[in-house]
Symmetry: C2
Subunit: 317 residues, 2 copies
C-alpha cells in the first residue's frame, strides 16, 4: 500500500459538514492529491449574481479562510452592500457579506464572459492558494427544489429563508435531465485510490451529484474503496433538515436509512459510536462499519476522523 | 411670466460640478419640474458591473444622499468588497464603496434582463425618492476615450487612474456614430421653459450630450432661454482637467473659449465675477452675461446661484 500522502483521494461534498471533514483531511493527506466534487444544486442567483454556496464553503475552508464559528462565509464580515440592496429589492434574506461578494462578482463576471463554472471555480481556488482540485459537479444548471406544504421552494428559500421547516413531500432536481457531470468528475472517481463521502445531507447535497449521468456507475465501478461518513449522529442530523428530508421521502431516519441510499456502491460506513446499535443491520447490507467519534467541533477532531478513515483505506468489499 | 416654481427646467449635466448646482436648483424650483439629462460617456464596466458615475452623482445629490466632502459616492462608505476584489483582479483603482455597489448591482441586473438604461435610471431615482426626472443622455453605449502621450485611455482610466494628467491630443466618443439620444431628451429641451447647462466640463461632460443627433438642433430651436454656467473661474477649472482638455484641443482656456463651444444655441452665460474682464468679448458673441459668485462650496451658495439664474429666466436673445 502507498503511504496516505501518496494517495489520490476523491470526495463528494455538500457544504458545512463536508467542509468540517475536509479541513482535517487536507492535513492528513497531500491536498494536491485531493479532489472535491461539490454539489451545485444549491446554487442560486441573487441580485444578478451567481452564488455557489457549497463551492465557496469548500474553497474558503480549504484556504483556511472560512468563518469557523458559522462554518460558512468569511470571518469578520460586514453586510453594508446587502443593507444598501434593501432599497432596491423586496428581499435581502440571503446573507451576502461584503468580502464574500467579491467572489460572487468574479464568478458572475467570468461566467458572463462564457467561461464554464469549472474553469471559474478553478480560478477562484487558485486565487485563494488552494492546491486541492475543487470541481463543481456540473457546468450545467441543476437546481434543487423542495416541495413542502408551502409549495415548491428553490433550495435556498427552503433552507435559509424558510429555515428548513415544513413537511417535505418531494425533492426535485430541475435541469438534471439535460445536465452532464463536469469534465473530470467521473474520471476523478474512477482514478482515485480512495473515495470518501464526508458527512453531507444525502438528499440535497450528495443526491444531486449521484443523480448526474455516469456518477453512480463510476462509484460502482471504481477500484477504489468508497467510504461514507454518516451525517446522522444518534439518529439525528448534526445540523440542518436531513431528518425532515429523509422522512418526507419515506426513508428511515437512521444511519441504516442513509446507507441504503448508497448501498449499490458503498464499501464502508463510518458511524458515530452513539449509533453502534445499528452495526448488525449495516453489516447485513454487506458494509464494513467503522464506529468512532464523528462530531467535528474542532480541527483536532476533524484530523482524527480523517486519520481513522485513512487507516481503513484498504476496505474494499 | 409664471412663477419660478411653475417652470419646467431642463439641464444638461456631468458629475460633481453639475450636482453642486442642482442641489441648489432643486430647492429653488419644484424638483418634479426638473429634468436632468446626464452624460454617460464616463460609464465604465468594472468587475462586470455597469458603473454610471455621473448618473449616480446626480441621483445621490438630488436625494440629499451624496458624500458632501467628496462630491461623489455615499457618505461613511467602506471599501471591504473592493479590497476583497484585489484577490481576483489586477486593478482595483476605481473606488466602489460597499453601499454604492448596491446601485451598480441593481443597474447591471436590470440591464442584463434587457431593460434600458433610461428605465433603470428611473427605477434608481424612484428608489431614492428623487422626484426630478433623471435621464441618461442615451440608452446606447457612448464611451469617451482621451488620447494622450500615454495612448488612448478610456475616460475613467484617464481621469481616475491617471488623475487627468498628460497632454491631450484628441477626445474620441466611441459609439457616437450609432447612438441616439434617449427617448425624452430632445423633447425635454424643446418643451422646457428654461434650459440650463450647469458648470460641467464642456469637452467630456457636455460634449458627449451635444454630440448626440438632434440635441444641438433642439437647443437651437427651443423657445426656452438657454443659460450656461461657466466651469472656469478666473480662467481655470474649479476642479478637474478642463484646462488641459480645452488647450489640448486648441480651444482658448477662458470663459470666452467655453462660450464659443455653445455659441450656436446659447442665450446667456453666467460667469464668476473674477472673469468680468471677459464681458465685452462675450457680449460680442451676442450673449447676455451674468457675473456673480459661482463657487458653490456650500448649499447656500448653490441656492444663491440658482436664484440668480431663475431671476434671468426671460433672457432669450
Amino acid at each position: 500500500m502507498p503511504a496516505a500522502s501518496d494517495l489520490n483521494v476523491t470526495t463528494l461534498a455538500g457544504g458545512v459538514g463536508a467542509a468540517r471533514f475536509l479541513r482535517g483531511l487536507a492535513r492528513v493527506i497531500d491536498p494536491a492529491r485531493l479532489c472535491v466534487i461539490v454539489n451545485t444544486g444549491d446554487d442560486e442567483e441573487f441580485f444578478g449574481l451567481h452564488v455557489s454556496p457549497d463551492l465557496d464553503t469548500i474553497t474558503y475552508t480549504l484556504a483556511g479562510a472560512i468563518d469557523q464559528s458559522k462554518g460558512w462565509g468569511l470571518p469578520e464580515e460586514t453586510f453594508r452592500c446587502l443593507e444598501a440592496l434593501d432599497r432596491y429589492y423586496p428581499e435581502t434574506w440571503f446573507g451576502l457579506g461584503d468580502r464574500d461578494l467579491a467572489t460572487h462578482l468574479f464568478r458572475t463576471h467570468l461566467l458572463r464572459q462564457g467561461q464554464s463554472l469549472s474553469k471559474v471555480t478553478a480560478a477562484i481556488a487558485r486565487a485563494w492558494g488552494v492546491t486541492a482540485t475543487v470541481l463543481p459537479m456540473s457546468d450545467d444548471p441543476v437546481r434543487t427544489v423542495v416541495h413542502t406544504e408551502m409549495g415548491a421552494l428553490p433550495f435556498q428559500q427552503y433552507f435559509v429563508k424558510g429555515r428548513g421547516e415544513g413537511q417535505v413531500s418531494k425533492v426535485e432536481l430541475c435541469g438534471i435531465a439535460t445536465a452532464s457531470a463536469a469534465s473530470g468528475v467521473c474520471e476523478a472517481i474512477r482514478s482515485a485510490d480512495l473515495v470518501i463521502l464526508p458527512p453531507s445531507n444525502p438528499i440535497v447535497s450528495i443526491g444531486p451529484i449521484l443523480a448526474l449521468p455516469g456518477v453512480r456507475q463510476a462509484l460502482r465501478q471504481t477500484a477504489a474503496p468508497v467510504v461514507a461518513v454518516s451525517p446522522l449522529v444518534a439518529g439525528k442530523p448534526v445540523k440542518g433538515p436531513a431528518d425532515r428530508l429523509l422522512s418526507g421521502l419515506g426513508i428511515e431516519v437512521s444511519v441504516t436509512g442513509v446507507a441504503g441510499l448508497y448501498q449499490d456502491f458503498l464499501d464502508a460506513l463510518v458511524i458515530d459510536t452513539q449509533d453502534e446499535n445499528q452495526c448488525t443491520r449495516l453489516e447485513q447490507l454487506g458494509l464494513t462499519v467503522i464506529a468512532t467519534d464523528t462530531i467535528m467541533n474542532d480541527m483536532e477532531k476533524s484530523v482524527a476522523l480523517a486519520q481513522v478513515i485513512m487507516q481503513h483505506k484498504h476496505l474494499k468489499r
